[in-house]
Symmetry: C2
Subunit: 460 residues, 2 copies
Amino acid sequence: MIEQKHIHALEAIVGKENVYSDKAHLLAYSYDATRTRYMPEAVVFPRHEQDISDILIYCNTHLIVITPRGAGSGFTGGALPANGGIVLAMEKHMNKILEIDTQNMVAVVQPAVINKDLQRHVEALGLFYPPDPASEEYSTLGGNVSENAGGMRAAKYGITKDYVMALRAVRANGDIIRAGKRTIKDVAGYNIAGTLIASEGTLAVLSELTLKLIPKPRFKKTYMGIFPSVEEAMNAVFKSLSAGANPVAMEFLDKLVIKALIEKLGVDLPSDAGGVLVGDVDGNVTEEIEFQLQTLEKSFKENGAVEFKVAKDEKEASQLWYARRNASQSITIYGNKKLNEDISVPRSKLPIALNKIYEIGEKYNFTIPCFGHAGDGNIHVNVMLDATKEGELERGHHAIEEIFQLVVDMGGTLSGEHGIGLSKAPFMHIAFNEQELNLFRDLKKAFDPNNILNPAKMSL
Amino acid sequence: MIEQKHIHALEAIVGKENVYSDKAHLLAYSYDATRTRYMPEAVVFPRHEQDISDILIYCNTHLIVITPRGAGSGFTGGALPANGGIVLAMEKHMNKILEIDTQNMVAVVQPAVINKDLQRHVEALGLFYPPDPASEEYSTLGGNVSENAGGMRAAKYGITKDYVMALRAVRANGDIIRAGKRTIKDVAGYNIAGTLIASEGTLAVLSELTLKLIPKPRFKKTYMGIFPSVEEAMNAVFKSLSAGANPVAMEFLDKLVIKALIEKLGVDLPSDAGGVLVGDVDGNVTEEIEFQLQTLEKSFKENGAVEFKVAKDEKEASQLWYARRNASQSITIYGNKKLNEDISVPRSKLPIALNKIYEIGEKYNFTIPCFGHAGDGNIHVNVMLDATKEGELERGHHAIEEIFQLVVDMGGTLSGEHGIGLSKAPFMHIAFNEQELNLFRDLKKAFDPNNILNPAKMSL
């Protein structure tokens, strides 16, 4: 329990204006995108890295738990103060782009910089920051690193971890750690930056990020393939990629999503389509774009595509993307509540994974529309249900558990990009055995022996 | 000390034929590429992962130290049994390519597979494994992961860590750990695979590697730029890259190396050249190759290049590469002993870094020819000396220490690709403060509380 003396001590560190314990503020920092609430006992806004260090030293001594928070846009509760204590909110002060080093193609940012703000900033300089989680307009880069956020462009460009060159972070005991360098190669010491990526704020508090940028590709085009069945579409995914296609994105919509898009939004797609693949290709020369499109068209048609479209201009491109962009909102026709999980499987397993997911839907009598990042094997599975019905939510969770087991049995993962946090913590035992969980616990203990950093997350 | 009863216990695990404690075997496993010797007390060849686990359980109980070993080709003593004990030699049994999954573009290998063997194997299937350390013909992939090996192609394709999708490893207590997945996205649990990369066998013993493959680019060409000074060449490096060039490799030779190549090997380079850049560009269409070459030529000429050559065919390509390939052996004209360090700086710092390195050379009266991977900021610095002279080696080490301090002050690293091991352990304090070293120690302790895995390495 945080007492008044603790509040005063925190005020002495960051100033009275950066500590709140009134109900309105506590409420405002009690939720995230999971729409679950846990009340913190105080909200503290560090002004800089030294504040974070001082706060952690104090909290580590007094065993006060801390939940670091970026935008609170996570889908698994990573920013929820599940055990009370302090929310350490980065958004107020630690939100600056500190440097864009165009010579070395590196950005140095504070953790609360919004992903898309960095993208826009560097694109104006002819550079490119590829990771593009769906939350890019509001999620923070610190949160992106903590959850190892993905996005649509992962098929070609990889995910957040592929762009983290160096981090500064503060350990639970207040030690300020520099990890990694502004160099492509650095093998001195343990890979602490790699260890902190995806650690969900449980090992250290990130205070500064050094991110890799690349030259912005000069040309881009949008394609769409329409398939009679989702199975054919999913075959086309791994076959086109192993044939040498390297699209920026390869997103898919299944039959249920297509139906919802037509019914709810009047989207112009054939009503008998069983699967759609849509994405971009990019390159420095138009011939590379042509090569990519030809490779895709050939593989798509060999795998049953009835149509392969290429957008002539920006307007047509955004028409093709419209369906994918509105997939999530269209499927509300199937239920007033969705359980949305972001499982991931090796791409060649997509066809069978989807069929088995639909079988689980039939068994439980749930509609399960699926869409997402087929190009990297990451599917957004949506178990649609009527939350007003008695016991429906519980049955939904059972269906999800079966899906997780299926995915893990196929060599896949509980989460492709959302993380574990609170929401998936009960399912960790499906993916990891006791020895692996023990290693996680040992690692946590090495960084944070008193368990003050974001406790209750990841089932540790 | 290993007693006879320990030898018997090890024989009971792996069989008599896989345990050696005779002098010839001990000698054969006492050295590596550093040419330093430390005698082990036994050499054990595990047949499979379960053997590794059984051996570690036994050794952890009896506090017998273990040094895992691939090919022993490392430059920093990572495979040297500095504290005696057992060398766990992977080469005999754990050397198989287990699977090439062409559908998901993934290779699954045992740790002692030779890097180049994997490259050849997958290239025959139209796939590509980019990491190409200079030791590729004999170094093992397990060693590559343990040291996070780099190579020439890092400028475009990154280093070993960028290709590790999943690992299996055995902890000091014998626990078998699966880390990572055969999926592009996986954010469930801590990034244990990332933690093990570059950990130099001090945290766990690698038992299986799942590596990412990419489609083999269809076209490749070799270029060379000749500059009046190394400073102009180094300016051309970061300026061409930030102008959008994305060469597979951008290697450099300084004036001293050029002179040595001409004198010792009669290489056809202008005797007044101050710096050379040589490398490849690749792509799926010839127009991409042209775009790359034009971008390079323009930047090179803007930065003073007097000549820009493009190889017309394979033969010309290997002529251009001949100089770089023979850089290391040519510089022996400057001394009978070289202290070779692989420092790395942000690319824009290359011009000033080189000038300061030469100043250190002047101060100590050493010739310091430099060459290496300019495209990723990684320089091979060679302090040449006469080892027969009294005190010369010690003075050489002082010069190296000054170079390390300089590099770290510029935001660079002690090692771009060779690791720390024993050779660079004395310099860790230059790169890391006490808090950072404490974190390394805590991490080591979490994985290996009894310090049985490759002790004495990395200054822990």
